[in-house]
Symmetry: C2
Subunit: 229 residues, 2 copies
Amino acid sequence: MLKADEWCAQQLGYRFRDPALLEAALTHRSASRLNYERLEFLGDSVLNFVVALLTFQQYPAAPEGDLSRYRAALVSSTSLSAVAGPLGLGDQLRLGSGELKTGGHRRDSILADSLEALFGAIYLDSGLDAAAEVIRRLFGPRLGQLPAAEALKDPKTRLQEEVQARGLELPQYMLDEIGGEPHEQWFVASCEVPALGLRSTGEGSSRRRAEQEAAQGVLAALRRAPQEK
Amino acid sequence: MLKADEWCAQQLGYRFRDPALLEAALTHRSASRLNYERLEFLGDSVLNFVVALLTFQQYPAAPEGDLSRYRAALVSSTSLSAVAGPLGLGDQLRLGSGELKTGGHRRDSILADSLEALFGAIYLDSGLDAAAEVIRRLFGPRLGQLPAAEALKDPKTRLQEEVQARGLELPQYMLDEIGGEPHEQWFVASCEVPALGLRSTGEGSSRRRAEQEAAQGVLAALRRAPQEK
């Protein structure tokens, strides 16, 4: 395995002046009190700013809502761990014994956090331009491959826009049922567009999920229905 | 009334090279297609980054959770409009006729958005250092007057920490009732710490608010109860 500073130079194209910053960025709190948590806080805001700027420049005509969706897609935990994985960041992490066996979602979130911490560490080590350069190299390819803003919208947003475009009253949501144990509650919600006579229900482990599923049902019905004049 | 560039120089200590940027930052979408929305997107991320850095430097020993709470308190819409108000930003805004009569919460949120847009505009006009300087001047006094991180925690977080500190099982939340019309639903939730025999209910216009109120009730009961050995 590569030593951390060689790994960083090869994969991130950046060589640290202060190796202690690199070491902290790669250390989970289960391994040491000198860990990545504060760097992650800082790196998260560096990443958000740089990605906001990249999307702002890349999409000069996009409205604010689309820019927010693009940025959210790029800096999501899923996107971050997908960037971190191929870099081999996982092999460089210092984890405590309890976390060593961690798999799946938990491990992805540690990868994402450590990657943010690296951006914070590079910022402290050399300033914003250096951090922005690394972020641009890692996220640039994803920036050019974003799905249309429309596809990044959730069903409730899309339904609201469709209904507004037809000049109708907004969809109404109602929570119909809650069941299950305190730690595993289950929600049933309905969505209705009275002016179109459309109604659908959805369910899920949160109210939000149930409403999104209900909105998806109404959207599907709307597309099957003949267009009004 | 001062002209916009004089106002900006006096109140923000910054003079724009490109007056079109200043004008856009002060223009609501109800007044023109050339409005502050994209600048607000950019300015929000500039502000977040600069405030993250200020809190990181000001509190060198604070854990990440506290830093996040400090930042959230500083960049909240409430904080932003409280900063914007005394600057007289409201008098400089260009609003469409429909928004001119806007009052209260709606107006505060426009002030907050336009202030963020100004930070984005300064960044585009002169770069990060200039924007950071203005942000530091406006938010520095607030940074030194933050309440203790503990006081910024919400009741659910505080209750969870109290219960964990005693080595007990986590509080359980249950949604008991939902009532009201679709657009005005009303929630009743309960919070229970079985190991302490404490239970309380709360209500509110969202599930979250109801749960927070219930947690507050249990916290209060916990403080009245004699400490266990």
